[in-house]
Amino acid sequence: MTARTDKIDELAQRAAESDAGVSLAAAAWRRLRRNPVFLVGAGIVVLFVVLAILSPLLAAHDPADPMLGDQVVRARNEIPPPQPGHPLGGDQVGRDLLSRLLVGAQQTLLVGVLATLIGLAGGLVLGTLAGALSGWVDTVVMRAVDVMLSIPGLLLAVSIGALFAQPNQYTVILAVAIVQIPVFARLLRGSMLAQRHSDHVLAARALGVRQRAIVFRHMLPNSLGPVIVQATLVLAIAIIEAAGLSFLGLGNPDDRLPEWGQMLGQAQNVIDSHPQLAFWPAGCIIVVALGFTLVGESLREALDPKSRR
Amino acid sequence: MALLEVRDLSVVFRSRGHQRTGEQPVAAVDGVSFDVAPGQTVGLVGESGCGKSVTAMSIMGLLPKRGNQVTGSARFDGTELLSLSDRQMRDRRGRDLGMVFQDPLSSLNPVVPIGLQVTEVLERHQGTPRKQAAMEAAELLDKVGIPDPRRRLSEYPHQLSGGMRQRALIAIALACRPRLLIADEPTTALDVTIQAQILALLAELVRDTGTALIMITHDLGVVAGLCDEVNVLYAGRVVERAKRHDLFAAPRHPYTHGLLSSIPRLDSPRGERLVPIKGSVADNIPWQNGCAFAPRCPNAIDTCVEVTPEMAVDPLVSRRLLRCHNPVTATQREALT
């Protein structure tokens, strides 16, 4: 018995490598190392993540504390200007802008990562179901996916966001995440269908391996390439769409822990009188989104066998 | 007076940024020379990667400008092709020089009707008006043996069989009655029966139209059926040139000999075993250090790995050029058979 499974594993392993596994990954890595696009993107992402993790330490002040509140005079549209200890000044209610941006990095990363993970998880379940056990399961799941895909992404996110009676950080994340589920599902199903007829799977099946084993040991691992690419891209999308939600007033109303999209959305009414309140978070969002996109795109190209670009 | 004179043609690949990566530029074609007389059929034979296709492409001026360095000379009817401007070259391609490629499916545009793919050449080079061009195209297709040509005009490549596609390609290449036709492995992608037909077709056409033909192949069988003169290429250099009969009767270069004895022959006694060439191209040594074939060569002697052999008239058989220190002798051939 063990002997047999070992044999299969070895077999499938070889097939996997020839398909999408190690060798291709290695080749991809070789291409990436030389790709300036990737290096720039990776640089941005790493910087951002480090910042996000360390931000509580870096932030000089409590982002929720309106310490400069006494300098806020709505009647004269005055907000705290840059000053010693507050290089960027304060926001509409006198909280230290720099600290908010720093802590914002953390929240933004949180939104991006959680949304992506949830979308990924959902897609993984649906896609695996459909891809693995075709038949009516496939049909049902894919119909559902089609329904979701039949609404433009951001619109769907906004709709979902609006449908929560009481918006908060997690409804935002959820709204953005749900939109991504069908995308991932499609992706996984596609690549698994492609594999169902590939040699190593057939071989494994021929040797009578249990369906589950085939799916999890052989099919899933080989489908991950495109999924990883998609995930990096989704991270960027999630961050941007979260900002869109905030702009439409469907964001997280509790702004004690700031998130860049939220900061941008809240700054919309003072964008001409206090542009810095909008431009700082906007700038951060653009750079970070760009970073993830660069990484995603260069990954995609590197993993795409026939790409010479 | 030759129609095409290729002299000392060399093509060097330079991978982008090779200075940084320190890769040595590779010579795909290394001082190749040969002539093609009007109406003559010349074969370029060799394993894949020996540089025969690159030779053809460089003559046609189809090699990408970037990353390729073409030196030497290729005189067509007295004009130096290699020094022509891009525009001048375009004017000649399709008119004086035609080319047929290996894979007929991918070589035809899938979304353009066959007819247009033929007529566009006529329009380009002869300014033939659409209607008339269409008629000529039909005749062409008919000539290359495509049944019901009128209907075919409006059809798309995927609707034709492999053989038909190759015929169409040939029709395109010959549309403007070029004086030189280069066929690059025209039959490799087809199954055997079709191969024969296509070869026959080519033979017939060049005879009728008096078109000179360069036949590029790895298949000596093809050569046997078609070529007047054969150039055997190895690692970017011509190693043996001979008239067809001489070559098949008495291959002199061990590589040629190897090729011949590695293909089954109908006239050989039963029970004879095929002798494959040992090793692979990977074992080659650079020509600078001697004979590139030496490592695989049964006849290799010490000089082969010390002195680079030069192209020279065969001491035994005249009318033949040879690049070898220790050619195959008659006795050896006997020993083998």
Partner: protein, 341 residues
């Protein structure tokens, strides 16, 4: 082909029905809604109860849904409670759809007209300055939040420079005649050219903002696809025929690289509605998008329901159109046989 189309249309019906039930149930289960919308601040528990009963909102959800379907069948999707209180949702759609259509068309036209040539040139001069610029540019284009771009455009070109109007579809004072609801068209056919021009001026900034994402995507896809086609054998064949570069580009390269591009254009066109929600809000442009934005804010459920449904419908239809247009571009699909590369 026909069977395929029919199947897709059926699928569309299915999608819309499923969506409508989903949305309807969810919307109804939410707080706020018609009653609060109608009574606003003056609401009292007593009046709430009365109105809820009057409107039959106390009946079981399915009863309500089927009543809704019944009314919907006769084109009655309920009456707006927030966007344009008192107007029927259908009327709002009919009246605002042309606006968004005008906007989307202009946006997608800009995206295509600039995006495809740029993508092609980038591919032709691969690795060159233009190439790198267009690639990075297109990536940035995706990274910039649409509404932020819209804000900046408006601030710079409308408020500071005053080249364009900041908001709306047309000056009220023009007293333009309405025929089709497409202001530009109306202006042309009624020969009120000032009105048409004014409408165009109102379109430009929002359209640019809206086109940013489709533009970026189109550039990228075109470039990639052209690069693929460029080293296809048949391009080499075309070269070997000595054809002129223009012919090779037009007939052999572009036409073959258009398939993926068309797909993208389709998807992007459908997705424009999402962008329109943001852009139209920024420019107070009275289209579907703005109605959605206000609808979300004021919880105008009848309008939201209809607009989201129709958005989905349009999206599906556009994609169907795209699939069909493959046949136009790719004979292998039209003539059934062959499959594809």
């Amino acid at each position: 082909m026909l069977r395929y189309t029919v199947r897709r249309l059926l699928q569309l019906v299915f999608v819309v029905l499923a969506l409508s039930l989903l949305l309807f149930a969810w919307l109804r289960s939410l707080p706020g809604g018609p009653v609060s919308a109608l009574l606003g601040e003056r609401i009292t528990p007593e009046s709430r109860a009365r109105l809820t009963a009057e409107l039959g909102l106390d009946q079981p959800i399915f009863v309500q849904y089927f009543k809704f379907l019944g009314r919907a069948a006769s084109g009655d999707f309920g009456v707006s409670t927030g966007v344009q209180p008192g107007d029927s949702a259908a009327a709002i759609f009919v009246q605002r759809f042309p606006a968004t259509l005008e906007l989307s068309v202009l946006a997608i036209v800009i995206a295509i007209a600039v995006g495809i040539p740029l993508g092609y040139l980038a591919a032709r001069r691969r690795g060159g300055l233009l190439d790198n610029l267009s690639v990075v540019g297109s990536l940035i284009g995706v990274a910039v939040p649409v509404f932020f771009l819209a804000f900046v455009l408006k601030q710079v070109f409308a408020v500071e420079l005053g080249w364009f109007p900041t908001t709306g579809r047309q000056e009220g004072g023009l007293d333009a005649t309405r025929v089709t609801g497409f202001f530009v068209l109306d202006g042309l056919i009624t020969r009120e050219f000032d009105a048409a021009w004014d409408a165009v001026k109102h379109l430009i900034l929002p359209a640019i903002a809206l086109s940013s994402i489709p533009f970026s995507v189109i550039v990228r896809i075109t470039r990639a696809s052209v690069l693929d086609v460029l080293d296809e054998d048949f391009v080499r064949t075309a070269e070997s025929k000595g054809l002129t570069t223009q012919v090779i580009t037009r007939r052999h390269v572009l036409r073959n690289s258009m398939l993926p591009v068309v797909t993208t254009i389709g998807l992007q066109t459908g997705a424009l509605l999402a962008g329109a929600v943001l852009t139209e809000k920024v420019f107070a442009f009275p289209g579907i998008g703005q109605a959605l934005a206000i609808g979300f804010e004021r919880r105008d459920y009848p309008v939201l329901l209809l607009l989201i449904l129709s958005a989905a419908g349009v999206f599906v239809l556009v994609n169907l159109a795209v699939d069909l247009s493959y046949a136009v571009i790719d004979p292998r699909i039209r003539t059934g046989s062959g499959g594809g590369r």
